[in-house]
């Protein structure tokens, strides 16, 4: 029988090896970019443009052209050109495709005219060229600082609201359980575990690959948080159910039994979610790949943490191994019978 509860120190170590680099990355990112994860124009305001040129340029060429236009805070990234076989009727692939991010550009028409003048024609697939109403394969979004601030505020509100809902859910789920506080606290720690894992990985991806957190990133995190808590509750429910059934068995044994009983469900559910998401990452639309990747990381972390973080924590707590909290917990433990 695999010993979930007994090997808890190993699981803490595994979590730490992911979370600690993540924390360092977040610290570095905060110093370097001003926030733990790189923020997209959704929050900061600015202009994000994706453009394909007929000609192939070096990154420096593009950068020079942008500098000459007098833009600040430029981030240029080369993207894979749209290949001909992905679009029906495309004549040939683009010479080069770029993602450009700058401060907000006021006169976008003027800027595009400038790009055309200096870097040549935009590339567009044949099917687009044949249609006079459609223009080159360009994607642009622009957000003013005001709108960015509003989205940031909306994001904070949403995060707070979700926190309240989850807290309420936890209180509700454990309302009639002895040691409710302990279960709730462990579920919340597991949830923070997932937030830290997701944020940390995002932070690293931001530093190394320029990934930026947009509104969808927050959505992924909030969704993950919801699922994570549910996963934990399913496992805890089972522990709760098993305690009166197996009186006389040690707490560790009961916990282990409960995890084994629920692990089929956890793994099967996880596998299905992973199937669907891997299908989207591999075959789905390009623009939401980052969103799905973060969701995937978060969901895997959520399942992991419900079994390998929340449950061991519960055992550690029971055995009085936790620093700081345990004094507190013991006090509650002692007071509880008196209250009855």
């Amino acid at each position: 029988m695999f010993q979930f509860a007994q090997r808890r120190k190993l699981f803490y170590l595994i979590s730490a090896t992911i979370i600690i680099p993540g924390l360092i990355a977040m610290l570095y990112s905060t110093i370097q970019f001003g926030s733990p994860v790189r923020l997209s124009i959704d929050f900061t305001g600015g202009t994000l443009m994706e453009v394909s040129f007929v000609e192939n340029f070096s990154e420096q060429d593009v950068r020079d052209a942008l500098n000459a236009y007098g833009l600040e805070d430029i981030i240029v990234q080369r993207l894979n050109p749209i290949t001909t076989d992905t679009i029906e009727g495309a004549h040939d692939a683009a010479g080069s495709r770029w993602q450009i991010r700058t401060k907000e550009i006021d006169d976008i028409s003027h800027f595009r005219a400038y790009l055309r003048e200096n870097l040549g024609e935009f590339w567009s697939p044949q099917s687009v060229e044949d249609d006079p109403q459609r223009e080159a394969a360009l994607t642009t979004s622009s957000v003013s600082a005001t709108v960015g601030r509003e989205v940031t505020r909306a994001a904070l509100t949403a995060t707070l609201a979700v926190a309240v809902v989850i807290l309420g859910f936890i209180v509700f789920a454990f309302r009639r359980v002895p040691h409710a506080f302990r279960y709730g606290a462990c579920a919340i720690i597991a949830m923070f575990h997932d937030i830290l894992v997701t944020m940390g990985i995002m932070s690293m991806l931001g530093i190394f690959f320029g990934w930026e957190a947009d509104a969808l990133f927050l959505t992924a995190v909030l969704t993950v948080v919801g699922y994570s808590v549910q996963d934990t509750i399913v496992v805890f429910d089972r522990i709760r159910e098993n305690i009166p059934k197996y009186r006389g068995e040690s707490y560790e044994l009961i916990v282990n039994r409960s995890v084994l009983e629920t692990i089929h469900r956890s793994v099967a559910t996880q596998l299905n979610a992973v199937f669907v998401m891997i299908a989207i990452v591999l075959f789905g639309g390009e623009t939401i790949r980052q969103f799905i990747a973060i969701l995937l990381i978060g969901l895997v972390s959520g399942t992991y943490s419900s079994i390998f973080t929340a449950v061991p924590l519960l055992v550690s707590w029971e055995r009085g191994e936790l620093p700081f909290v345990n004094r507190e917990a013991k006090r509650i433990h002692h007071e509880a019978p008196a209250a009855r």
Binding site: E150, D214, A215, R265
Partner: protein, 492 residues
């Protein structure tokens, strides 16, 4: 759960309706209730694609800082923008007001940003134009008219050293987007003379013509001392029984004839307004009044955010999303079948029902399908089977404890129900929160995700629990003793 037959019938009917709605070439719902040849209920059933799939532009406008606006002026500004957008020939354009003096414009299929932005941003130019040598009926309403004011404004916009275009090169954007722009009409080789722009008007209102009647007219009041007002009065005074044109954004709105008594009052110096008659209906009069009043009364609008999605990216995304969806769903179907055997069949049937019902609702409501929306739907598939997995694991346990098959199935469903209900409800609440978060312009991608995920979870409560239960019960009762003798088929 005794009424299995009833529920089976309900599920089958639902499935058939949903499948019909999901048909790619669904003709729509048209009902002619009283048989008069007019459809009382006429509803198109089709997939609404989001801008990221279709390609297109989305623009957020705001009244420029320092300008004052109220409900009426914002509504008129919205109507103006809408008229311009319709002038671009965009089908399904959305122009909506938002709080804080904002207007949101969605232009599916439009990548010609420059054209779209210019059209949206510029405040309308309303002109009263010298039509003294025009005979009634010579020009149709909507004709493209070049005026001195338009030429002056075009030349003012020129960059330094740029040559003004020839008079014959001026055009109006065509109503039909695929057509060439319409060349502007000239008056004997010259632009028509602008007498006054809309800034000379103080007010305009629709009114009933005469004491009693159904004919409507438009009253207008001049702005004392406004630019061009003197020229306007002078023209009216000296052109009795001749037409004067009203031109909005280069398009001829109408050219009423100046009545002799109005001309007399203009000559006497008592004219401070007038009435435009023309056999209008109420709506026509209201529209004309609004155009006179606000057509050129500027609330300058700034573009504070926009998105443009190129068409090719959208095309690729559609193809890829469909492929990803099919691969994902097939894998899940296979997994459930292999892992859970007979219950897996019930789960697969329920999952197919789930997919069809969802898709039917997307088309029926309709839900705008963007990439995040599709993602939300695909993730809800994962949750949909999660419900079944919870149930089946319970059933297996009950069977292992030695409970009889029917009892084990009943116990599995009733015990798992609470967990399924709670988890779905909490995620639905999170979806609500995300939906409101998505009402911010920059976060609008979130909205689609929240809608489809939330909808999926709600439907899941029906399909994962009720439908699977009915399917499983039906399979068990059809199979007779076979299942009882071989619990392996139940995945035990």
């Amino acid at each position: 759960m005794r009424h299995y037959r009833f529920w089976l019938a309900t599920i089958l009917v639902t499935a058939v309706i949903a499948a019909w709605l999901s048909l790619p070439n669904n003709p729509g719902i048209r009902l002619d209730l009283d048989g008069d040849g007019v459809y009382e209920i006429n509803r198109e059933i089709r997939v609404v694609q989001g801008l990221d799939l279709q390609g297109g532009s989305r623009v957020l406008l705001q009244a420029a800082p320092g300008t004052s606006y109220d409900d009426t002026t914002m509504e008129q500004a919205r109507l103006n923008v809408e008229r311009r957008v319709n002038g671009l020939g965009v089908t399904e354009a959305v122009v909506q007001r938002q709080e804080g003096g904002r207007i949101i414009v969605e232009l599916p299929g439009v990548q010609e940003q420059d054209v779209a932005f210019d059209a949206i941003k510029s405040t309308g130019l309303l002109e009263f134009v010298d039509f003294s040598n025009v005979t009634p009926g010579q020009y149709a309403e909507g004709a493209c008219i070049l005026t001195t004011e338009q030429v002056a404004r075009a030349e003012a916009r020129l960059a330094e050293g740029e040559q003004p275009p020839a008079l014959t090169e001026y055009t109006c954007p065509a109503q039909d987007p695929t057509a060439e722009p319409e060349p502007a009409l000239l008056n004997n080789g010259q632009p028509f003379r602008t007498i006054m722009t809309g800034s000379g008007l103080a007010d305009a209102a629709a009114t009933i013509e005469g004491q009693i009647g159904t004919r409507w007219a438009v009253n207008f009041v001049l702005r004392g001392g406004g630019e061009g007002v003197d020229r306007f009065i002078e023209y009216v005074g000296s052109h009795a029984n001749q037409p004067m044109a009203i031109v909005l954004d280069g398009r001829l709105l109408s050219y009423p004839t100046i009545q002799p008594d109005l001309a007399a009052s203009a000559r006497a110096g008592t004219m401070d307004g007038g009435i435009i008659t023309g056999d209008f209906t109420r709506e026509e009069a209201q529209v004309l009044a609004a155009q006179l009043k606000y057509g050129a009364l500027p609330i300058p609008l700034d573009i504070i955010a926009f998105d443009t999605i190129g068409p090719s990216l959208g095309e690729i995304s559609v193809q890829r999303s469909i492929r990803a969806g099919i691969i994902g769903v097939t894998t899940v179907l296979l997994f459930m079948l292999i892992y859970y055997r007979v219950p897996g069949i019930a789960a697969d049937l329920a999952l197919l029902l789930f997919v069809v019902v969802n898709f039917a609702l997307f088309k029926f409501i309709p839900v705008t399908l963007s990439l995040p929306a599709i993602t939300g739907f695909l993730i809800s598939i994962g949750t949909a089977v999660d419900g079944n997995i919870l149930i089946f694991e319970r059933i297996k346990e009950e069977l292992r404890v030695g409970r009889g098959m029917e009892r084990a199935i009943e116990a599995g469903f009733s015990r798992a129900w609470i967990a399924i209900r709670d988890s779905n409800l909490s995620t639905i609440i999170i979806c609500f929160i995300l939906y409101f978060f998505g009402s911010a312009f920059g976060a609008s991608a979130v909205r689609g995700f929240a809608i489809t995920l939330g909808l999926g979870l709600a439907i899941n409560l029906f399909t994962a629990v009720l439908a699977t239960r009915v399917f499983l019960h039906t399979i068990v009762s059809l199979s007779g003793d076979v299942l009882r003798r071989r619990p392996k088929l139940l995945g035990v």
